[in-house]
Amino acid sequence: MSESYVRNVIEAALLAAGTPLPVAELTRLFEDSARPSAQQVRAALAALAAEYAGRGIELKETASGYRIQVRRELAGEISRLWPERAARYSRALLETLALIAYRQPITRAEIEAVRGVRSDHIIERLLERHLIRDVGRKQALGRPILYATTEGFLRYFGLKDLADLPVLEGTDPRGALGGMTPTPHASPAEGSEAV
């Protein structure tokens, strides 16, 4: 079994499947007598990724496996294939999604405490799009529903896992209080000047 054979099979499989394929599934494609190890499959994937450098497509690892995708730089041209524009996400929706992604599991009340506005409709829409899901109930008064992101969310945004999210600035074990307790500038003397 030659290296190029393994690489070709994997490439063809990723193109034909239309969904991300994990290494285990790629390994299973081969005949028993010619089955490469997981390590060999990974090596072939790396070789493919290197081959695609400078091409119109790229190899991407997402939460549910590897997929071959069109390069982002070509989004403008390629999207003309489908005259319908992809749905734009409102800022409200993105804010809510960000809170759930970084703070999961989180309740609606906790989301609204940060955003300062009601968010139930937006949560509803995120649920409809399968970007988030209900993962249980918080052991608190009223047993509120806890929300978390789905694997679909990771796949949609091309993330391997949640650690792959952009770093949240000001991350502090003390949470949001990290920025301000007590305020260095806000002495009573200065405060009076503000009024």
């Binding site: 990723l14 193109l15 034909a16 239309g18 969904t19 991300p20 497509i57 997929r67 071959i68 995708q69 069109v70 390069r71 982002r72 989004a75 390629i78 999207s79 992809a86 996400y89 800022r91 409200a92 993105l94 804010e95 999604l97 960000a98 809170l99 992604a101 970084y102 940060v114 955003r115 300062g116 506005v117 009601r118 796949r155 949609y156 945004f157 091309g158 993330l159 999210l165 952009p166 949240l168 600035e169 000001g170 949001a176 209080l177 920025g179 301000m180 307790t181 007590p182 305020t183 260095p184 500038h185 806000a186 002495s187 009573p188 200065e190 405060g191 009076s192 000047e193 503000a194 009024v195």
Partner: protein, 322 residues
């Protein structure tokens, strides 16, 4: 709050300052527009601003925190040292403007206006030294919320910037012509095999030949025989003993049917000492034995020690009713 908002706050970015309507335009101020070569630094008095334009502007805010953050950032104010009086004034102007435009204002905006007013008053009051939180600035909680909100506003932008499937990237696909159907051989469970065998047996039954013969046994006859047997023993007879296995399935079934029929007629009792114990059968009234025999078999056997049929029948009917 009765003071009507000044529209200029919204449409111009100049910091609030005393209006100078009489100031000569060609001087100090930067012209904000040039019309027909003439610099214009003042809004025409009859300038009409369509309310929809403001609506669009105001609806761009995601809530009171967003609006407040905008007011602070627009003026490059230090978020940790917000000039409360000024910000509160500007905030309330926006709120009133929205109300003037009959925008449906979310309650949260009004709550924030009240919070700001409350903070402002607390800043004005001298704070008692003994207060537990004497050190904390009254604005701290608000600032904390603003910072927290701003963090997630940025995080939202970060998520928005991620390449998104079918917006920024597309999964590729290739056609596979002549797809081979590679059927893997399924595992067969024993149960499935038994089911298959059952089907075969059922089908085999359909081909079976039947030779139908008139049954020589009759339920009525068997009833008589059973009653006779019970009469002879004049006590309990084991249930099993009433059957004659050598007669085969049909005979056994007839016997069983006869027993059921006798039970229905109330002519026999079936008893069981305890659960799962052997069943025993006895005649309820040996005296009535002959009567039934005569009824069923139409035999002209003389009723011995029994009343005449005419008087007997109503009595039976009463019994049945009871």
């Amino acid at each position: 709050m009765k003071h009507k908002p000044d529209l200029k706050i919204v449409v111009s970015n100049t910091p609030p300052q005393p209006a100078t309507p009489q100031a000569p335009p060609q001087q100090v101020e930067m012209p904000f527009a040039v019309v027909n070569g003439e610099p214009i630094s003042q809004l025409p008095r009859d300038l009409y601003i369509p309310p929809q334009a403001l609506e669009v502007f105001l609806e761009a805010f995601e809530g009171p925190l967003d609006l407040l953050l905008y007011l602070i950032r627009r003026q490059n104010l230090n978020i940790l040292d917000i000039p409360l009086a000024e910000i509160t004034r500007q905030y309330i102007q926006y709120i009133e403007l929205m109300q003037d435009l009959q925008l449906e204002l979310a309650g949260e905006y009004l709550v924030m206006a009240a919070t700001l007013a409350e903070l402002k008053s607390r800043m004005l009051l001298p704070r008692p030294r003994l207060e537990a939180q004497a050190d904390e600035d009254p604005r701290a909680e608000l600032v904390r919320r603003l910072q927290e909100y701003e963090r997630f506003k940025r995080a939202a932008a970060g998520i928005d910037a991620l390449p998104r499937l079918e917006r920024d990237v597309w999964p590729t696909s290739a056609q596979l012509k002549e797809r081979q159907l590679l059927g893997t051989l399924p595992q067969i469970a024993l149960q499935e095999m038994l089911l298959a065998f059952k089907d075969v047996v059922v089908r085999a039954h359909m081909f079976a030949h039947h030779h139908i013969q008139r049954e020589r046994l009759s339920v009525g006859e068997r009833m008589s025989e059973i009653l006779a047997t019970l009469g002879e023993s004049a006590g309990f007879v084991p249930f099993q003993q009433l059957f004659r296995p050598e007669e085969g399935r049909m005979g056994v079934t007839i016997t069983f049917a006869a027993i059921l029929e006798l039970m229905r007629e109330g002519l026999i009792d079936i008893v069981q000492a305890q659960a799962y114990a052997p069943l025993h059968v006895r005649a309820t009234n040996p005296g009535r034995l002959l009567r039934v025999v005569s009824d069923q078999t139409q035999a002209a056997a003389a009723p011995a020690g029994e009343p005449a049929p005419d008087t007997r029948l109503p009595a039976r009917a009463d019994e049945d009713l009871a």
